[in-house]
């Protein structure tokens, strides 16, 4: 079996390891503060009541839904070029989902009561729907990952050493490699994928609807939101997969370049579609220069955080990747850089969804009616909030690394089993 090491020189690997360790420790310190002092060190308040963590939540969950939809489409439509990356996509979807759930869990005022959404749910709430649907999605992801890896694990159980241990731990007794068993795996994958596609569309559309249904917030209250969330998920999740394949897939695979090109092409097309929707989202409320939404969008474009939109989203997240896609089509590593840029800067898009919806007082003059630092209409995340996100990111990288090392998620084209 092919070496699964990241193709980095030794010194680079060492630096990456040190960087990861520092990020993990600094982040864990933030999490400790969160557990000991609650929300006291956070910068959001009672008016801008959702901040970095909610944005991180919709960001990570978008990455998960995007990576999953991509993998499900691969299984359902049996796309030959990309079939190999299905397992890696599932791993990415699981890891980013765990990151998303952690982000929103830390955001709760009473973390210990999270299970109330299951024991005393109210199905009038979009939030309940979202939680129930992403729980179903989580279960489905794990099942799909199991069936996708089972054949390889069954082969591992015949080998020696740690692979045998991992395989025995995860196989739940189903070790058969007969044609019938393999056919069952494929069928299970097809069925789960077919359930998964509508489920992922419903659950991530539901995240958009969670915002879109809020009458009190003209910035969010648009029927376009569920759709915008889905295209955003596909763009960011697809871009993340492009980067993951470009950087972490064995370059010795004869299909390597073709896969990266194929992925980046899909991302490029969805990105263009997403831009058209975004144009609608901005131009329609802004065209005549009047109205509450105009003022809010004006702040997004030209307010104190203008650079989040123009520099992070438009320049680094859109224009630069498009130029790379168009000019470096034959260089998979460059395509990976473009994907990575889109995936990372998509956090700016998510921040620009959550925060601007909350920055205008519902009644003029409220900001001066009663003065307290929690009762202001300005927000920038505190160091503590970034620390918690850093922890989640470090944890995500750690889980991805472990998954990639310990599970047979990478299978090189036409590879024969020893």
């Amino acid at each position: 079996m092919l070496s699964q090491r990241i193709a980095l020189p030794k010194i680079g690997r060492m630096l990456a390891g040190i960087g990861w360790g520092v990020a993990f420790v600094v982040g864990a310190w933030g999490v400790a503060l969160r557990l000991l002092q609650g929300h006291e060190s956070a910068n959001y308040g009672s008016y801008i009541v959702w901040g970095l963590w909610v944005a991180a939540y919709i960001y990570f969950i978008g990455l998960s839904a995007g990576a999953f939809l991509l993998s499900a489409l691969i299984y359902v439509f049996a796309s030959k070029e990309l079939e190999q990356i299905g397992k890696l996509a599932l791993l990415v979807a699981v890891v980013t989902l765990i990151m998303a759930l952690l982000s929103i869990w830390f955001d709760l005022g009473h973390m210990e009561r999270f299970y109330y959404v299951f024991t005393r749910p109210s199905f009038s709430s979009m939030m309940t729907w979202m939680v129930w649907l992403y729980t179903a999605y989580f279960v489905l992801l794990l099942a799909e990952l199991y069936f996708a890896l089972r054949a390889d694990l069954a082969r591992w159980s015949l080998s020696d050493g740690w692979r045998r241990v991992v395989a025995n731990l995860l196989l739940f007794g189903r070790r058969s490699l007969s044609e019938r068993a393999l056919r069952f795996d494929r069928m299970a994958l097809r069925v789960l994928g077919s359930i998964g596609v509508p489920l992922a569309i419903a659950f991530h559309g539901g995240v958009g609807a969670l915002f879109g249904t809020v009458l009190a917030r003209p910035y969010w209250h648009t029927p376009l939101y569920p759709i915008l969330f889905l295209t955003g998920a596909l763009v960011s999740g697809g871009a993340l997969m492009t980067a993951a394949v470009a950087f972490f897939w064995p370059k010795s695979d004869p299909n390597y370049t073709a896969m990266v090109q194929r992925l980046s092409m899909i991302v490029f097309l969805i990105l263009i579609f997403d831009l058209i929707l975004e144009w609608a989202e901005f131009s329609i409320p802004m065209w005549y220069g009047v109205g509450p939404e105009f003022d809010l969008l004006q702040k997004v474009l030209f307010g104190p955080f203008w650079w989040v939109f123009w520099i992070l989203h438009v320049l680094l997240g859109t224009l630069v990747p498009i130029v790379i896609f168009l000019t470096q089509r034959s260089k998979p590593l460059w395509l990976g850089v473009a994907g990575g840029l889109i995936a990372v800067t998509f956090m700016a898009v998510r921040l620009n969804i959550v925060v601007p919806g909350l920055i205008e007082p519902q009644l003029r003059g409220l900001e001066e009616a009663y003065r307290h630092e929690r009762l202001v209409f300005e927000y920038a995340p505190s160091l503590f909030e970034w620390q918690v996100v850093l922890f989640i990111v470090a944890l995500g990288f750690g889980l991805f690394y472990l998954g990639r090392r310990l599970l047979p998620v990478i299978s090189v084209a036409r590879e024969e089993i020893a």
Binding site: Y47, G109, H110, R120, S125, T213, V214, L363, A369, R374
Partner: protein, 253 residues
């Protein structure tokens, strides 16, 4: 009678009952007692605020904070000051903003765990022990009437916790002591028309403390009540009526 004297107009001449009859609070207290005798579902609590009488003293804001032992950053009834016009042609207007106790409340259906609901008497209640602190309701309120309890105290960063930080509140008829991460810390909080005072036959703290008697409170299902009289006037308005939330707080303009 007919006897002129230096103390003719002094309070000493009047009986206590007469003085109290002069105060609109006394009428509202009587109506409150009457309403409490009815089954809860037949009461319809409403508040009326006469903006022409409000002088912007913020006494209601403070009385509310004292009554409910509100911590820093939590406020149920701020008074908005609006400056109109340009110097020198300016005027000011004050708008107290309690919870509107909407008949069609946007904050209720968004709660994922049914921790906030409309009571039979129309008041929107929060069950602090059920609230998970997701703050979805806070985003859904078109009046910014809900605030989040971050667990702060007035005497933070001082050597000792002050007694007023330790005093329990009695919202919803229960005893709430804020310590550690216990509710109502980590919960959404808002005005509840001082339900615990109503149950004891007392008017809401904002109403009794209003020095200009600009805030009225009572049962709109009682045709004889003062509030019923006031909300049938043509100079009544409600905030953001176009949203269809049907607030139970009325403003006289």
């Amino acid at each position: 009678m007919g006897k002129a004297g230096p103390d003719r107009y002094s309070v000493g001449d009047m009986s206590t009952a007469t003085i109290e009859k002069l105060d609109v609070l006394e009428r509202m207290r009587e109506e409150l007692q009457r309403a409490l005798k009815k089954p809860i579902a037949q009461r319809r609590w409403v508040m009326v605020i006469d903006l022409r009488k409000c002088i912007g003293c913020h006494a209601c804001t403070i009385a509310c904070i004292a009554e409910n032992k509100l911590p820093p950053g939590v406020v149920y009834r701020p008074v908005i000051t609006e400056e109109l016009g340009e110097y020198p042609n300016v005027s000011m207007r004050f708008i107290p903003r309690p919870c509107m106790q909407c008949d069609n409340p946007p904050c209720v259906p968004v709660c994922p765990v049914k921790a906030t609901y409309k009571r039979p008497d129309g008041v929107i209640e929060i069950d602090y022990n059920a609230c998970i602190g997701c703050r979805y309701c806070i985003t859904a309120c078109p009046y910014n009437a809900r605030t989040f309890d971050f667990g702060e105290h007035y005497s933070d960063k001082t050597p000792e916790r002050a007694p007023y930080d330790e005093a329990p509140s009695f919202e919803y008829g229960r005893r709430w002591k804020r310590e550690g991460e216990r509710s109502p810390i980590g919960n959404a909080r808002k005005c509840h028309f001082c339900l615990h005072r109503l149950e004891a036959g007392q008017l809401p703290a904002c109403t009794t403390s209003c020095v200009g008697r600009a805030t009225f409170f009572g049962d709109a299902n009682d045709p004889e009540s003062l509030v019923s009289e006031l909300i049938s006037k043509p100079n009544v308005m409600r905030l953001k009526e176009e949203l269809g939330t049907r607030p139970k707080v009325y403003y006289l303009v």
